[in-house]
């Protein structure tokens, strides 16, 4: 099961990478917004974990592109944001997010979310 983690904070990458790898997920990471879509195409992940605040492009823009691309539109996306305002959540939902999670999160929550999103794959 392939996970693509798009996040720019190295120690968060390391922690999530560790937690998911332990559980047998094949985790790849990508640290900027510019070419995140290319990374998704290259990697063809089963689930994407996407941070909102990325250098280059925001997670919202990336999500919008993903949902607009027939080949990528069905990949489940777990979105991470440091701002839990309902406005952000609404925006992510409008753009077609699969699950939305606010930082800081518990490790088990991330794991549970990824499991749920990949259950039907």
């Amino acid at each position: 099961m392939r996970v693509l983690l798009i996040e720019d904070e190295p120690n968060i990458i390391e922690a999530i990478n560790f937690i998911l790898s332990r559980e047998g997920y094949d985790v790849a990471t990508h640290a900027n917004g510019h070419d995140a879509i290319d990374a998704v195409r290259d990697r063809a992940p089963d689930v994407i974990i996407l941070d909102v605040m990325l250098p280059g492009r925001s997670g919202y823009e990336i999500l919008e592109d993903l949902r607009g691309d027939a080949a990528l539109a069905d990949i489940p996306v777990l979105m991470l944001t440091a701002r839990g305002q309902s406005r952000d959540r609404e925006m992510a939902e409008k753009l077609g997010v699969s699950k939305f999670m606010t930082k800081p999160f518990a490790n088990s929550d991330v794991l549970d979310a990824v499991r749920a999103l990949t259950a039907h794959v």
Binding site: E9, E14, A15, I19, M53, A82, A106, N107
Partner: protein, 430 residues
């Protein structure tokens, strides 16, 4: 409030006392129809008749002929409009202002304090939602908390972790907790600054205006060619970097004008030309806008004439202003689009002069000189932007007004105006 005329004041007072027109007319020995004409300002009234009507209405004659100060009344009206759960006697507002000027001013002052506080609250909530500095500090803290939380969780939940992983996560934890300590300190400093409410809440432009007002817009040091930097950094009223920047800009312009129009020569030329803006520009070989700013920044005792000034950019934003008594320059809301200031932007470089009077205050007239000038040196292939400067001075000899303007829509009584942006809070025609 169609106007503040004698007729309307008589009508207002008579209706407040519930006296019929015919009744009042017979008391003062005129016909009811004549009184009706007076009340609608179709007939001039003066002298003895005013005294008689005032007597019949039980008020001072001066209250009828002059009314209470218009600005005070519009402030009271505005204050009344804000409060919804009580019904002040709006029809007796003039009487109130005239009979209890002290109390009326208390209401005005409290209303203004209320507005100021409202503004502070707005700025505060705006800050939380839109201040990029605050948002960035907050984001940094949350990111670090997330990393620390996730790493600590791993260390806690995986007791049998391989030594190299354990060492790595310990190192991450140490790094992140340090960053967290730094970023939370930053955040605290940032929020702490808010205690100094006056300085944190005031925008740089507000700071600039307190600074200019405190100096009376006059800087004798610069007349002698002193250092601008010393004035800016030495001022207790300029706190933010933004305010320093704005003050430097204004003072640099002041210094240039002080040099090209030396005080004594300018004072003499002002007398010789009788304050003719164009003639002064000619004498000192400077732009009209420079003369306007020089005039406005010199105190009344020097020029023996009151000047106000307002400068705006093409977005209509007020860059700075110097208040002139009677000519309301709104501080927070937007100005009246009918000011010659804005027309000057439509005709770049063309000087305009116009006699204006405010819709709500008869008798007071102002002569306005406006001109726009390019911002910086115009370049080929680049759109030039302009600022407009308007000099305002009381017009001594009353002339037929060339334009009726307002201060801001909310407190303007002109009934039909194509430029109206929002409804007026002034009650019509009482």
């Amino acid at each position: 409030m169609k106007d503040r005329s004698v007729g309307s004041r008589i009508r207002e007072r008579r209706m407040a006392l519930k006296i019929r027109q015919a009744e009042l007319a017979s008391q003062v020995g005129i016909s009811a129809s004549y009184l009706n004409l007076i009340e609608h300002d179709k007939r001039r009234i003066g002298g003895k008749l005013v005294v008689d009507i005032a007597g019949a209405l039980g008020v001072e004659a001066t209250l009828l002929s002059e009314g209470a100060e218009a600005a005070l009344i519009s402030a009271l009206r505005e204050a009344a409009n804000v409060v919804t759960n009580v019904a002040p006697e709006l029809e007796r507002i003039e009487e109130f202002a005239a009979r209890f000027p002290g109390w009326a001013n208390v209401i005005r002052a409290q209303h203004q304090t209320g507005l100021k506080l409202e503004r502070t609250v707005e700025t505060l909530s705006d800050r939380l939602a839109h201040d990029p500095e605050l948002a960035a500090a907050m984001h940094e803290v949350l990111s670090m908390v997330t990393a620390v939380h996730a790493t600590a969780g791993i260390l806690h939940e995986n007791r049998e972790l391989e030594p190299e992983w354990r060492a790595r996560f310990h190192r991450n934890l140490s790094e992140d907790s340090q960053r967290l300590a730094d970023s939370s300190q930053l955040l605290v400093n940032f929020l702490d600054g808010a205690q100094d409410a006056e300085t944190r809440m005031a925008s740089p432009r507000d700071e600039l205006h307190s600074f200019l007002e405190n100096a009376g817009y006059f800087f004798p040091q610069l007349e002698k060619g002193d250092d601008i930097e010393a004035i800016v950094t030495g001022s207790e009223l300029l706190h933010s970097k933004g305010a320093h920047y704005l003050a430097r800009e204004v003072l640099a312009d002041y210094a240039i004008n002080a040099k090209s129009m030396p005080l004594e020569a300018f004072e003499a030329a002002h007398v010789d030309t009788n304050g003719d803006v164009a003639a002064l520009a000619e004498i000192f070989s400077v732009s009209l806008a420079a003369v306007m700013r020089r005039l406005a920044f010199l105190p009344k005792p020097i020029l023996n004439q009151d000047y106000g000034l307002v400068k705006c950019d093409m977005a209509g934003t007020m860059i700075y202003r110097k208040e002139l008594k009677g000519f309301s320059l709104p501080r927070y809301s937007s100005a009246c689009p009918r000011w010659p200031l804005f027309r000057a932007l439509q005709r770049p470089g063309q000087p305009l002069v116009q006699i204006v009077e405010f819709a709500a205050r008869e008798m007071e007239q102002f002569e306005c000189f406006a001109v726009s000038e390019p911002q910086g040196r115009p370049q080929f292939g680049q759109d030039t932007t302009f600022t407009a400067t308007m000099l305002i001075t009381p017009n001594a000899e009353r002339k037929p007004p060339e334009a009726q303007v307002g201060a801001a829509c909310r407190i303007c009584s002109v009934e039909t105006c194509l430029s109206r942006r929002e409804p007026s809070i002034l009650v019509d025609g009482i």
